[in-house]
Amino acid sequence: MAIPLAYNVRSLRVRWTSTVVAVLGITGTVGVFVAMMALAKGFRATLVSSGSPRNAIVRRAGATSEMESAVSTDQLHVIEDMPGVAHKGSEPLVSPETVVVAAFPLKATGTDANVQVRGVSPRVLEVRDQVKIIAGRFFRPGLDELVVGRNVASTYAGFDLGSTVKFGGGTWTVVGVFDAGGSAFDSELWADSEVVKQVYKRPLNVYQSVTARLTSADAYPAFKDAITSDPRVTLQVDRETDYYEKQSRAFTRLVTVLGVLVGGVMSIGAIIAALNTMYSAVAERAREIATMRAVGFGTGSVVLSFTFEALCIALIGGLLGCIVVLPLNGLTTGTMNWQTFSHLAFAFRVTPALLLGGVIFALAMGIAGGVPPAIRAARARIAVALREL
């Protein structure tokens, strides 16, 4: 025989201040935890989506990032001839690239941030087919023209279509905006690599990396083996997605560790709040409980009843926490990518899985906060409780 649920719901309403307090404790915890995980996920997603499994990025063996790498023109030709490289007509779909960093003021703070400038091949849109021009046009080879990622205009000052920008000792015109599907490229400036090298006084026959589009994702192993076993070159090959995934690790790890730490500690606080509320509830309702037990409800029913009450609080708190955090989804923020030393814009990413996790987390807190008081309620001596005034 179970105690009617209406009793619990009404009791929660009657003691609404304590209920609200416990709910808010859980809301705060779930909200903070989900927000931090969404931050980490967003950063990681941005970087991971920067690559395509069909592309391979080739750098000098031993370089940890593009900046430290160097690939000569001779090596470039070797790469172009490798098996698995896709072609358009007779042209290999390969983009030799140079990356540099330039400082521009952030719109948000006015202070400078390092922006990644990527010198690319004019064929880059065919190599990276997930990138599309959404405004203006692509740059013309050989000219001081820029196409900028869609996050650039909103993050840094002075990058509207048609405006001129000075950096590297040269003057550039923004001729187009591209959409790279929410990846790291959306925070970059792209220009003709030959022009970039000239402006930055880099040796003209050296690039920093070569991105090759393969005929299919399965062509990668053969491509990689061919290059690494070739005695003419000392190069390392990565799937583009893996390369970017590695870059995301440091920051993701930092935020995840902090998120778990903060969330964990806060959950203890929330459980304490729930315990406080439930213990007070049990104390205040001692006579009611005793009466119910005298009437014939068993200890099991009492335990279940109070646990249910705690879970109600937890569920409301968890849902509220998720709702509060939901508007963050898609909100762009930025941080420094320590691998490329440049600023990276990314968005919070609140996934259904994360929300579900938040609710489950809340329910777990509810159980931790509800069961001990429930057991105490069930074990109090009936006669004593009935006599109490």
């Binding site: 000098r60 900046m67 007070s280």
Partner: protein, 380 residues
């Protein structure tokens, strides 16, 4: 104080509730300590910045080098008293995840420029005499169990090949915030094996000036000296330089502030509610005290005193725990070189806890004070 036993006796009345409330304070202040530490870690560069030091980097891009020949021109800028240069090496020791910063440095000037790093004289001498010598920070020694005399292989990335160094000295920081994760070796050694592309170039200059008040003027003078040359400079104070990095890392302070506020607000609610419940249960007793002749103010102080005591004890425990936690070092292994809870942070934490105790206790204390004896003693 002769009323001490009244306060304590009340706290022991419902041990579980008292423990839980203490726990709430401890949790909140532990988090506060944690957040203060993380904030400190991000701001570390700013905090240790020398007031009388300027950083001179390539204006075009921070990763671009500057000619070593600039030293002479820099020496001629009025107000400049010492010049030092460093070069980022960026090598890998065993595994990419074992990140630590490596710098190719200028022997004597490095030591003079950064007096906060302390190296015994004999060790520095051995270092100077050894072309392949290295001075490492004590954090590195702790992390990798190195000792003086070890030969350390580092795989170069920007400067390819395998480079080997002999540890000749260990430096200590003079303040807890000082970064002791650095690895220094001779620029001379780098120069010998540099590829031709990097010949005669260094990463950036650090310049000491005679008077911090002249910083802005001297910075402008330096940049003016090299304007319109192939290698233009951007000069700013060390503090501004470090602050720029922090700003780029995102609005960390905002994030921390938000979390902190959420935590404290929740704590306030929980403790306020607990105090309210506790006072409600004691109405009759408080009325008796008043009937016996204790004043309204006394009753107010009693309730408030309990609240503050809980705050002080719980908060103190939380802060102590977070201090203990920091002794375990950086949990992210390498991303936060400075993981330390400062005394000012601890004091702020305690004050915040007391403030919450005050705020949570004031309403119940007030209602206890205003309690009409007659009403409370009325038989039910």
């Amino acid at each position: 104080m002769k009323y001490r036993h009244l306060i304590f006796a009340n706290l022991f009345r419902k041990k579980i509730r008292t423990t839980l409330t203490l726990g709430s304070f401890a949790v909140a202040l532990f988090l506060f300590g944690l957040l203060a530490v993380v904030r400190g870690a991000f701001n570390q560069g700013v905090e240790v910045a020398g007031a009388n030091r300027l950083v001179v980097v390539n204006k075009v891009s921070i990763i671009q080098p500057l000619p070593i020949s600039y030293e002479q021109k820099l020496a001629q800028v009025p107000g400049v008293t010492l010049i030092n240069h460093e070069n980022w090496f960026g090598g890998v020791y065993q595994d990419e995840r074992n990140f630590f910063p490596q710098f190719a440095i200028e022997d004597e000037t490095q030591r003079q420029m950064f007096p906060e790093f302390i190296v015994p004289d004999e060790q520095w001498k051995t270092f100077s005499d050894d072309r392949e010598g290295a001075i490492v920070g004590e954090d590195l020694v702790k992390r990798f169990h190195w000792k003086v005399g070890d030969r350390i292989p580092v795989k170069g990335t920007i400067f390819p090949g395998t480079w080997e160094f002999n540890i000749r000295g260990i430096y200590h920081g003079s303040r807890p915030q000082d970064d002791t994760t650095q690895f220094w070796f001779h620029y001379k050694y780098l120069e010998e094996r540099e590829n031709p592309y990097w010949k005669g170039l260094i990463g950036w200059y650090t310049v000491r000036i005679d008077n911090p008040d002249n910083a802005a003027r001297i910075a402008r003078d330096i940049d003016a000296t090299f304007a319109n040359s192939p290698w233009e400079t951007k000069t700013e104070t060390e503090k501004a330089f470090a602050a720029g990095f922090v700003k780029q890392a995102g609005n960390i302070e905002f994030l921390l502030l938000s979390i902190g506020s959420v935590v404290f607000f929740t704590l306030l609610l929980v403790t306020g509610n607990t105090m309210a419940i506790a006072v409600r249960e004691r109405m009759r007793e408080l009325a008796v005290l008043k009937a016996v002749g204790f004043s309204d103010a006394f009753v107010l102080s009693l309730v408030l005193g309990e609240s503050l005591l809980l705050a002080a004890i719980g908060g103190g425990a939380g802060l102590a725990l977070s201090k203990l936690f920091t002794l375990g070092g950086d949990p992210t292994r390498g991303m936060l070189p400075y993981f330390y809870l400062t005394l000012p942070a601890i004091i702020v934490g305690l004050l915040a806890a007391l403030a919450v105790g005050m705020a949570a206790g004031i309403l119940p204390a007030w209602s206890a004070m205003r309690l009409r004896v007659v009403d409370a003693l009325r038989r039910v």
